[in-house]
Amino acid sequence: MPEASLTHEFQYSSARHQAETAISGMWLFLATEVLFFGALFLTWIYSRHWNQAGFDAGARRTDLAIGTINTVILLASSFIFSAGLAFIEAGNTRRLIQCCAIAWLLGIGFLILKFGIEWREDFSKHLFPGPDFAINGPLGGGARIFFVFYFLGTAVHGLHMIGGLVLVGWIILRARRDEFSFRYYTPVCVVGLYWSFVDMVWIVLYPLIYLVGRGP
């Protein structure tokens, strides 16, 4: 938490009050996001319960290697952004920029793997739940529902990633203009919370999509 900034807006009693309000506001927003994604996770619970075999047949058609690499990438990105925050707390703007740039590049890498490679493969294998869906027979219905969850979940998460990348880029630009110091870095904290939350959502999506349905 930033200790103090030099100035504050008129509606706050102090710079500390302003910083705490910004951070609390982001936490409140994230609490609503938990419910947003919670509804998605509930559809998984409900749909898989009634279509276990079809869901598992769908999960076995996903690309485990790309999913796992993407998980490692996102965890690394979140760690590196948090390290950048620790650096600016110590007043090291240069290291903050470097950490944010690496976190941003890892985020781009995630999107390329997910949408540039994995989604393209999924479409070419006819795994999009449309008229020429690849899995037919008694498991077809459950597998279709699984792939609706897969495409919806990864698309919504991807949109959040794009929003996060814009925010991380904004932090890099502001840091390059020397707008942060050990006395003022509230936006870095706020964006860091969002970036880690996007990581958290993927931590849950990863086993739901790639792991639960796999196995011998």
Binding site: A31, F41, I45, F79, S82, V212, G215, P216
Partner: protein
Amino acid sequence: MSQRFRSLLLAWVLLMVLLAIEFGTSFLPLDRSARPLVLIPAVLMVAVVGTIFMEVGRGPEIVRLFAVAALLWLSMLLGLGSLDPMTRIDYPVQAAHPR
């Protein structure tokens, strides 16, 4: 700074270990209905990210309130939402005979 960096690094290593456990357990010969147990390491990973990367313990009290409220609402959503599929008993329907 180095203390904070060390704890972040430790958290990242812990996350990698949990990921490896999760990955490994997904190949265990578990019953289909028991397979959601694979999610346990994911729950621990979320807790690590929340406490160390997001520093939920730091900052104003209201941050903890929002975090606890989010967990409470989520547990109500998932708990009440899964009550029906988990408790419903399906009775076989007698096939209709053509006249």
